[in-house]
């Protein structure tokens, strides 16, 4: 039931995403969900586990949707299929299924795609308001399944680098942030056109989850705080070279990562203090990869790297147990 509520909380973000970036988003979600449920069923059947009741836990569906949200809106179906199958079959079921996977399946699938198909994975389309042309739902489906665009279009017409990419590349070429922002119309008040609203919508869904007590506040809070602090420090040093904290908080997959990806309890740290460390680690890595790395965003790598550290963090962050090592108590004992 927790997973299904998490999926519900994603809906506002998904709707805004579709509004700003077109039907391709929905095509990805539909394809990813189908592949996710199919691969989960197949592996459960092979492993002789109950198929139907396990599918009802919603975890495979959630993995599918999260991976779909990480993909560029117009992605070929086989890219989606490879990513999902790797996520469900290798990253999840081969480790023993729900609860036993050490790495976030959706992010594992995404990173496999990013490394294997860098071209396909970095072809983002611009927000619809900047696009000269856009695809209808049917056209989006056809493009995904057959790679065919309507006769009047070619892919360059519907593709554009993301704000994070543009900022990094241009800054490296010597442009100031303010110059970049005036030159490229994709930038907006908070971050990029569309992306800022998507982030706000995911933030709203995340707050709803917190309010319903379905996720722990620690990971999103420390993740966002870490991004805020790290970006604020560098922004104060040189605001023309480093993007502002607000930009980082509302750009890319920040909110999706903070509330829906890093919070996966199976792969995150599980102690209260450990979750703060885990979130902060994710946040810092996101900032580092975005600022000095070569990938479109840092959420997936950050989460996976912190998944890797989770057992260690858990080991060293056991809470102080009642009746142990309490300096106050020791004083009381003496008196």
């Amino acid at each position: 039931m927790v997973m299904l509520n998490v999926i519900l909380a994603l809906i506002p973000g998904i709707v805004i995403y579709i509004i700003y970036f077109g039907w391709g988003v929905l095509v990805n979600i539909v394809l990813a969900s189908i592949f996710a449920l199919l691969s989960e069923s197949l592996l459960l059947a092979i492993r002789q586990r109950p198929v139907f009741t396990t599918l009802l836990d919603g975890s495979a569906l959630l993995t599918g949707i999260l991976l779909a949200l990480a993909l560029p809106p117009h992605t070929a179906w086989w890219v989606v299929a490879v990513g999902i199958m790797f996520a469900i079959i290798i990253a999840k079921q081969l480790y023993g299924g729900l609860g036993l996977n050490p790495f976030n399946p959706a992010m594992t699938g995404y990173v496999v795609l990013l490394i294997s198909f860098p071209l396909e994975m970095t072809r983002w389309n611009p927000p619809l308001e900047l696009a000269q042309q856009s695809l209808s739902l049917l056209e989006a489906f056809r493009y995904s399944l057959s790679g065919q665009l309507p006769a009047s279009m070619d892919f360059d017409m519907i593709s554009l680098a993301t704000p994070l990419d543009i900022a990094r590349e241009r800054v490296d070429m010597g442009m100031t942030i303010s110059a970049i922002k005036t030159e490229y119309s994709i930038f907006s008040n908070l971050s990029g056109k569309g992306t800022e609203w998507i982030n706000i919508a995911f933030l709203a869904g995340g707050i709803w989850l917190l309010f319903r007590r379905l996720i722990d506040w620690r990971i999103p809070a420390s993740l966002l705080l870490a991004i805020l602090i790290a970006s604020a420090v560098f922004w104060f040093i040189n605001p023309e070279y480093y993007l502002s904290p607000v930009f980082h908080l509302f750009a890319g997959a920040t909110m999706l990562g903070a509330f829906f990806i890093a919070t996966d309890p199976v792969t995150a740290s599980t102690t209260p203090a450990g979750r703060l460390i885990f979130g902060a680690g994710c946040g810092l890595l996101i900032y580092v990869i975005r600022t000095w790395g070569g990938y479109p965003d840092g959420v997936a790598f950050s989460v996976l790297l912190m998944n890797l550290s989770a057992p260690l963090i858990d080991h060293f962050s056991q809470p102080r147990i009642t009746g142990y090592l309490n300096p106050k108590n020791q004083q009381q004992d003496k008196s």
């Binding site: 927790v2 729900l98 199976v266 056991q318 009642t322 004992d333």
Partner: protein, 510 residues
Amino acid sequence: MTRLYTFPGGVKLKGHKAISTSQPISKADIPARLFVPLNQSIGSPAECIVEKGQRVLKGQMIGRATEYVAAPVHAPSSGTVIDIQKFPAAHASGLPNDVVIIKPDGKDEWLERKPLPDITKLDSSELRNMIRCAGIVGLGGAAFPTFIKLNPVGHQISTLILNGAECEPYISCDDMLMRERPHEIIEGAKIMRHALDARQVIIAIEENKPEAIASLQAFAEDINWLHVQSIPVIYPTGGERQLIKVLTGKDVPSHGLPLDLDLVVNNVATAAAVHHALDHQQPLISRIITVTGSGVRSPCNIEALIGTPMSDLIEMAGGYTEDADRLIMGGPMMGITLKTDATPVVKASNCLLVQTPADHSTEAITRPCIRCGECVKVCPVKLLPQQLYWFSQAKNLDDLQSHNLFDCIECGCCSIVCPSHIPLVQYFRYGKSEIWKKEQETIRADRARKRTEAKIQRLERIKAEKKAQHAARAKKSAAGADRKKEIQAAVARAKAKKTENADHTENLDM
């Protein structure tokens, strides 16, 4: 209003207590047979001191305590011992236990009771001895011998806490006792306070029992050392360490006792039992037990003799409903499942809970642990149940210990909040028993190793001795040539004698 504190974690549970408090405490008849187990307390079992066929009187000791941590057992009514045999007992293991079976004669004839002593003139150790001889153990469910808890061992006890929290759902025997017989608790408190030389006594009661609070409060007004304290309703606030935290804000050291904080905690029903033992010379032969749950027709509280079969109590509570399918001794959180209603009431039986399938329907659908951490939030000891679960599944005993498994009080909060319905406490009990088993094995292996070492040493010693003997003999044999002749001569002499004897025998035969 005194300041109260909170302990970490805990859960708010539905009380289900009102269903069993509508009628006053009723008294069970003497059953046809009394089944009195000899092992009714923490520590070693009592040693049987009666024989088959022997007549016993009510209150007569039938099982003797042989160790320090042990409690004697008494005959609950007069009658004849008809057998001493193994019988399923109300114990988590469900293993059979030595049980004295008494056929009551219906006369309920008391053992001759000595005249009442003046308690104020007795010293602490005499009081403890009398409490020990009366077989009194903690009646809250743990059954720890009470006399040990009344020994301040050098501490100046500041407060004796009487635990009337009764935080576990369904149970209401302490509530009813406090409502109906507050004077017994107060009298018991006087004796306990005297034994401990405690400055004050606090009776702590969850605020969902206003009648009990009012009834004790009426007494407390005239006694300056007595304070009745209502405490918030949260499970497991009735746990000893949790209650101390709530009342004083202090944590009992992990490997220590409340005594380390100059505190002693006893159950209110134990206080009443102490009063009966000293003021009326009645050993612990009966107790109040709540018979409740959706599986009995009219839940109630019954004062029953120790040894009464549970089936008698069910009958008194109107019998089973049609769908009753599970018997639990104790509450739904910490109780133990009974295999049969022939199990007798023991000193620790505070509640007999009869459940129906609806009460435990979630157990069937256990799902994998997703490490959501809900269990961490409710653990009153601040353990990490999800990690302990992982380690118990992997039989990783070292990590279980380093994650403080033995601080788990088995309250069951983690199990009840688990969204995957994992019976966590069962895993922890399993983990504990595995560690105990391993420790036993280590002890045994140690012993075996020492034995082997001793054997090797012994064999070497024997070898050395033999060698020495051999050397000595070799020395002798050099000078043994003369001796050889002597031996030959002796042999010849013996032969000659033998033939002579043989002749003689032949003569006799003729």
